[in-house]
Symmetry: C2
Subunit: 319 residues, 2 copies
């Protein structure tokens, strides 16, 4: 009795097998095999993305795939790691057209090439709910050189990469609630730029990526490092589009999610090294405040230097 | 401005941080760090489970957690690997009570202890849909000793562990469609037993776990190994409860999913070694057929030795 391949397997064969790399065993076995690179430790992280929570159901599938990989790559960037491979689970409604999977796989392929990643394995299932995705990403570092959140010291500067607030403004733009003539903001929401290579062990004392809002994420760094922080909104690097939106959006820029920029603690002695690396990568970096001895706490100073209250410090994906 | 921890983070702190092991960095960083065990390769696999597709929405949360880990552990067992660690993503409706998470975490804790696993990281998000879970599991093997699906040879016996069909019958029992006086069948559906340690490299030539139905999964082994197979339904190991259900359920036992037993190709010369290992682990193993030279194809012989047709050879989680 010769059986046709069930839908799940032909889907995998058509769209995902071409993405499989060394050790994936053609996605034909129960698991993949990974020979750890000699002299390296692994850095490993998992993130879930749900349609309607982390991306818009109508977002193009190739951009959804790239956001999925890039949010995970941003975690590797925050640890100072080099990308290696990933595993993927896709739960999609049975009515999902094949063209959605084709576009999704094309987005994965584009970012695999851009970030030197390979697909190791995964799972495809149906769901009666919205498209639900997860990626587990693996990177490598030299042993002992993971950049942690607990390494900030009093007097370290608070540095951020890129511009802050575009993610939250981009969500408004993508949902028609904010003008976005050239599509810059929506693109920033849909296509983060993981800042791989920017945070180097020994230069950056503590690091995380800004995914849930700058002020909330800075709070996490403060708790991990046992420090207070002062953040000066006047120093906040804003894109031209964010400046155009106007000062009333400043609180949102400080508290909105989806920036996927790096938030770093850098001692004055290491600033030059950070700036050199930033220039080599053509990624702007900006000092926006400083860490202080004291109980974990974030003080934000507004545009007139006044202490600022934010009604909502950040975004929670479960609240 | 001191911020209360947002719901997502307090949920993680309450329920998941106690499960975190070495390298998880207390679930407080962007990623975990894993020093690969010396002289071992990693085996890595990811599976997704969706309420209403892979488990019943009303299933107790601790059993859902255990099924999630055990279906992944079953993949490690099929590769001949030893469990090491896992990452977890949980997408749950905002209305999910804290008691559900507490029970879910208790189930994870029980199986972490039973199978010597540790939690490395993950993600918790809300979803407007059903509970959607994913696990990426990591195990280790000696280099080059992963058991593949492509290693069956003509003349190898087809062996299975445990009993076959209880998973599919258990789903009927759990949904009130089949009598199950002592709850044996429903328990087999809800709580698989990964057969870790049974398939040993050098003894078992090819292996996979039976998750989508014996006949369909045997078809995968045939394709991977480039062989035909003959399966004798008279040899099928059935539980007392499956025998009690009656012969009309035989096609379902052959094609139903969720058994999570091992399907193995074993040469006659290695049968004694397999039986010795099975006895040591107190896991029954049964020869149910043989592999033959020929195009990939599964022939099933029924209870009177007649060639049998199955309307549906197996279960697809996306069809």
């Amino acid at each position: 009795m010769t059986q046709p391949l069930p839908a799940e397997f032909s889907l995998i064969a058509r769209h995902f097998r071409p993405l499989a790399g060394e050790g994936a065993l053609d996605l034909s076995d129960d698991a993949a095999v990974l020979a750890p690179p000699a002299g390296r430790e692994l850095v490993i992280s998992a993130d879930a993305l749900v349609a309607g929570v982390h991306f818009l159901p109508e977002d193009p599938a190739d951009l959804v795939a790239r956001k999925l990989l890039r949010t995970n790559l941003s975690d590797l960037a925050a640890m100072g790691a080099t990308p290696l491979a990933y595993l993927l689970t896709v739960s999609a409604p049975k009515s999902t057209p094949d063209s959605w999977f084709a576009a999704f796989a094309a987005g994965l392929a584009a970012d695999q090439a851009e970030f030197h990643l390979r697909l190791l394995g995964g799972d495809t299932t149906s769901t009666p709910g919205p498209v639900s995705l997860s990626v587990t990403i693996l990177g490598t570092i030299r042993p002992g050189e993971a950049i942690r959140r607990n390494g900030a010291r009093p007097g370290d500067g608070i540095w951020v990469s890129g511009t802050i607030g575009d993610g939250a403004l981009g969500l408004l733009a993508a949902t028609g609630k904010l003008a976005d003539p050239d599509g810059f903001l929506a693109d920033r929401y849909r296509r983060p730029h993981p800042r791989l290579g920017l945070a180097q062990f020994g230069v950056v004392g503590a690091c995380m990526d800004v995914s849930d809002g700058l002020v909330q994420d800075l709070g996490h760094l403060c708790r991990a490092s046992g420090l207070a922080a002062e953040l000066d909104a006047r120093l906040l690097p804003l894109s031209a589009a964010a400046r155009q939106a106007g000062a009333e959006f400043l609180p949102l820029c400080l508290s909105g999610g989806d920036d996927y920029e790096l938030l770093m603690a850098v001692s004055p002695a290491q600033e030059a090294a950070l700036l050199t690396q930033a220039e080599a990568l053509r990624v702007p970096v900006t000092r926006v405040g400083r860490f202080l001895a004291g109980p974990p706490d974030v003080t934000v100073f507004g545009l007139k230097g006044e202490p600022m209250r934010l009604d909502q410090a950040g975004w929670s994906h479960f609240a």
